[in-house]
Amino acid sequence: MKKESFDWILNELPYADPFLFVDEILRVDEEGAEGSYRFKSDSDFYRGHFKNNPVTPGVLLTECCAQIGLVSLGIFLFGKETKLKTLSIGMSSSQMDYLLPVFPGERVRVVSELVYFRFQKLKCQVKMYNENDKLVCKGILAGMIGVANE
């Protein structure tokens, strides 16, 4: 099972329920990452977004893209050579286009492509697809990923 080899990345992700938006990492290499997540239909935020018309908020689509496409990739790129105990991360910019709604219970797949990773700044192009392989959103995300000096 190839996907098992990426479980260590899931364990290193600095998120937990209710703000973990990664179910599995399907592929990671030097060029980018791919992973999936199913938005739980009983999530609390659907009660308010929108009233009587639950749709996944765009900010959470962006967050999902960032956790899979940016942070998981960053952990992979860093983790090969560094102990990750002191990993610190922060999103520095996001520029997204949203094309289709994602409804409660839908599973999405995120694919990211590395633009650059230099001086601890990681910049990626990200794309999110729904279960019918239709593009849901796309954009460019960047963040700082650092490891404190021992």
């Binding site: 520095s92 650059y116 001086f119 700044k121 960047a142 700082m144």
Partner: protein
């Protein structure tokens, strides 16, 4: 390339990343990029990458650490251009 030309080129890069509360005229040679010009670390990386392209040089982590002020940046650019 003359110093003044280099300085202008560097200023043209820096001004793209200035936050809204800092004016282009605030850029002085002894301005501290982060403390005086309020440039954050993510945008500092953008400046370094743009400097690399504009001057056709390559900066390393040490250069990044030393690049505190506009003058520091000028000195690093000079040193890298001489190495070429």
């Amino acid at each position: 390339m003359q110093d003044e030309e280099k300085y202008q080129k560097l200023k043209d890069i820096i001004k793209i990343y200035l936050p809204e509360d800092v004016a282009i005229t605030d850029i002085e040679k002894d301005s501290h990029l982060m403390n005086n010009l309020n440039i954050n670390s993510a945008n500092l990386v953008d400046i370094v990458l743009d400097v690399e392209d504009a001057f056709d040089i390559r900066l390393e982590n040490d250069d990044m650490d030393q690049m505190q002020t506009v003058n520091d940046a000028m000195a690093i650019i000079d040193a890298k251009l001489k190495e070429k």
